[in-house]
């Protein structure tokens, strides 16, 4: 039973060795010389005024959240589409199930559309 896991273990071992080798060598060989100027933020060679953490308008955050919701929706579709071909006898219920999922998210989409969250300025 153990035999079938040898290739997986080999790959994992190779990956771990590779990572350790690369990180170790570069850490061990690199000549890090941190100085105050080097750690200062780079702004095209100019002295920096103020810091980058300015107060931003909230609409950027809103758009980010909406993107995540609909992106996760498509992520869920991927395994569904993969499984769809392998079990031909269940095609009917699988389609119905995905329809429900999409409709629920469609309601959410129409809601934010009417609320005007997609209006930019």
């Amino acid at each position: 039973m153990l035999q079938s896991y040898i290739p997986v273990l080999l790959v994992v071992a190779f990956v771990v060795a590779n990572a350790i080798l690369m990180l170790g060598l570069s850490h061990f060989l690199s000549s890090t010389r941190p100085t105050a100027v080097k750690l200062a933020p780079y702004e095209s060679g100019m002295p920096v005024l103020g810091d980058a953490r300015e107060r931003f308008s909230v609409k950027f955050y809103l758009v980010a959240m909406l993107f995540i919701i609909f992106d996760v929706e498509t992520v869920f579709m991927l395994p569904w589409a993969a499984a769809f071909h392998q079990v031909p006898e269940f095609r009917g219920p699988l389609l119905a199930e995905m329809l429900v999922f999409v409709v629920i998210l469609g309601v959410g989409y129409v809601y934010i559309w009417k609320r005007g969250a997609l209006q930019w300025d």
Binding site: M46, P47, L49, G50, D51
Partner: protein
Amino acid sequence: MTASAGSGTVAAAPSPSVAALTARFGPAIRRHEVSVGDTIVYVAPDRAHEVLAWLRDDPGQRFDYLTDVTAVEYRDRERPLEVVWQLRALGRGADLRVKVELDPGRPLEVDSVYDLWRGADWLEREVYDMFGVRFRGHPDLRRILMWETYREGHPLRKDFPLRGHFSRAEQTRQALAANPEAHYSIQELSIAAAYDELPGDMKERLSRGERGDVA
């Protein structure tokens, strides 16, 4: 060994604008001459802005294109420093050079033509940076080519040596040590600021009003 064919002031006819100008302004137009085909009009410094506004707006003249604003300083001391406006009428295709002689006694000042031509904004800032001629009424007169706290004076003046007053080491030190507000105008400092994010040392320099003498 003068170039044989050329002779300085060719006796070409001055442009018709000269007659119109002398008719309109009389004593303000000091004199005019023609050099190699270009007409030059010398105007009294305090009425220069008025003459230029008339030249731009008068339907007969319509000098609507300001080609260049510059200044000339001669090698012999008694000739005064001149500010030169190079005008062009796009419709009529005529050129005119208006000059103003600033007497060396009083501080070098002349009226800005920024309200007549927007293009004069940077040209006048460069003349201020290079010659030290202040333009009254210019919205934002500060150095444009050298950094703002440049202390060696105005480079294109004849008394300014080619390599600068200070030694190369001093010039390097001043350049490397130019503190941050030398690279930012007051306008940008007030934006970045909300005033508390500025680094501490710059804030107290600014509050002492010591922004480096802009002269």
